[in-house]
């Protein structure tokens, strides 16, 4: 396996008034193709910040981010928008589906974004079929026209996973994907993610504070005091 996504010497601080609060202090992380990596750590340890920097949602104060060996964190705004749209798929703790759109339209969102009206309408049938298949895959085949308010927590998270997959990304970035779900739904979501990782060979980074969940990953990385403290071999 070869290196897919990497962070080198990434530092990030937040400012609380006049006080600088360092969150990441030179983090190095390498993730290989098709690898499922879990990042664990106490709350406030910088897990989510690292994930956001890896997914180009946030900028590091120092350090670099590489995708397939090329540096991507210094690219221009349009290129960063394109990376987020095509290369990364985000999954959030609170699902963050757009409440005005149906499940199907939410899944279509990453496909809407790069297209104008005419260029989208030309591809509409193919895209809708693709989104419908994804919803079928996550078990929401009968919920396509429902709005988020009409779905349960587990269903919303499955829809969010389908949305993250719609742009056919190379890397899935999941921030506490089961954090807001009951044990059963959480287990369902997790096994779905694991299956996707195996089926599609997707590279996945999973942020969690739950060691039980982390143990299902190929590799667990622990963040403490802004540094990667402990590497553990696959515990599967």
């Amino acid at each position: 396996m070869s290196e897919h996504l990497a962070a080198r010497g990434v530092s990030k601080s937040y400012w609380k008034g006049k006080n600088e609060v360092p969150v990441l202090r030179g983090v190095d992380l390498e993730v290989e193709h098709g690898e499922l990596v879990a990042i664990v750590g106490a709350s406030g340890s910088g897990k989510s910040t690292l994930l956001h920097i890896l997914g180009l949602l946030d900028a590091a104060d120092a350090g670099q981010v590489f995708l397939d060996g090329s540096r991507i964190d210094d690219s221009g705004e349009r290129a960063r928008d394109r990376f987020r749209n095509r290369s990364f798929g985000f999954i959030f703790q609170f699902y963050h589906l757009l409440p005005e759109l149906t499940a199907l339209e939410n899944v279509l969102m990453p496909l809407f974004i790069p297209h104008g009206v005419w260029s989208y309408l030309g591809r509409r049938r193919a895209y809708e079929r693709q989104a419908a298949e994804l919803l079928e895959r996550v078990g929401l085949g009968r919920r396509m026209t429902h709005r988020p308010a009409e779905l349960s927590g587990g269903e919303m998270q499955r829809a969010a996973i389908a949305r993250a997959l719609a742009g056919q990304p190379e890397v899935l970035l999941a921030d506490e994907p089961t954090g807001n779900l009951d044990a059963k739904s959480g287990e369902g979501v997790l096994s779905l993610l694991r299956d996707l990782n195996r089926e599609r060979g997707l590279t996945m980074i999973l942020v969690t504070h739950d060691m039980q969940i982390a143990q299902q990953a190929d590799r667990v990385v622990r963040l403490a005091e802004g540094r990667i403290e402990e590497w553990s071999a696959a515990l599967a």
Binding site: L57, E77, N85, F92, H96, L98, M109, I113, P114, G116
Partner: protein, 478 residues
Amino acid sequence: MYKYLLCWRYLRTRYIALASVISVMLGVATMIVVNSVMAGFSEKMRDRLHGVLADVVVESYSLNGFYDSDEVIARVMDVAGGQVDAVAPTMETPGILHYRFSDGQVITRPVQIIGVNPAERAKTGDFAEFLFNQKGELIKPSFEVSDKIKDKTPAGSLLRSLGEDSGGEIDAKMEQMIRAELEEQKSEQAPTRGVILGYALATHHPGKDQPDIYIAPEGTKVGLLFPRAGQKRSEGAFDTFTVVGFFKSGMSEYDSTHVYVPLDRLQDQRLLRDVHGRGAVTQIQIKVKPGVQLDTMAEKIQVALDDLRPAFFRVYTWEQKQGPLLGAVAIEQSILNILLFFIIAVAGFGILAIFSMIVVEKTRDIGVMKALGASTSGVRDIFLGYGLLLGAVGSGVGMLGGLLFVRYINEIERALSVVMRRKVFDDSIYYFDQIPTLIEPFTVCWIVFGALVISVGASIWPALRAARLHPVKALRYE
């Protein structure tokens, strides 16, 4: 693509934004109604003003006018012959109207006496459309005193009762003398010269919803006092006429002062006939063909006539002659428009406030969109598009409502009058039986365009704020 979808969904789900739609709607509707009514009023007024005046008027400074009207007309034809439809020389002079009401009181009024050839004058404007008889029917432009009027005089009715033939009761010679005497008295009681009186000069308006009373009905003998031509000293002349009709233009200024008499008679009585038998006139009314630029034509005629006799003639277009009145209406309309536009501006601030709220409410969604790859400009366009859509819906519905209101304004006025138990639009003040309206498509387009600009303008700031949100901060917003 997602921008249009979200704009559309926001419009359909954010009912709070409809509040700003309503204010845009009301603003647009009000502006359309007010503009249409004002345009209707001024159009009607222009119509009436134009009816009384021909397109272009040549006037002499001197009240005594000029004898060489044929030559003046020839000059006018020289410079603008192809564009002229009809000309009519007239004479205008101030004077005093004097007549006796049936109860014996004598009524005296200052008037503007206008000598015309009615058929000629009718060709140069809407003059004929304003002439009515006592029953309110249109009459021919003529000063002829009908036999019916003559027969109604005391002498006329005596003559009638005498019948065709007395049947030999009186001596034939005697009868002939009596008839001749009565004929003479008849033409004294009803002079053969007709006069057309301004409607307000001849009637009394007793009050709301009551018919006007004719104090100088058809057949009334009226006297007119006016200045004679004089080099050193003006003297008065007095002449009598029989009322044959009424002039009702709807402009109270004219209806209460204008008195039309035969041009020949006025020229004779004012002693304005030269040795060649030519009568003097003070004005030449010119009607031009449609589409001709009046201002340039008036200028051309002025130059040509100054050539003929310097500083003797003034040439006006009908609009120039009524300049101050038309100007006042135009100023009123533009001030009202500025004031009313503030209503839409207020609606704009409503949009700004509501949009700022919506942006706050949508903060996390904006973060999600950015995480999914939406660009800064894309997020900005969602809110600009939303503002445009709100403006379009507001001004579209407002336009429709405004146009419907204008279409049914008289019905609405009647309904309001019933509810308020008083007449909202008093026709005795305005002289119109209905509220005049005129929808100008250009004005409507401008109002709608202005409302759209304000709606988009008001959404710029919230849209920029949304676009500048940091995705991580937006996602963490609670």
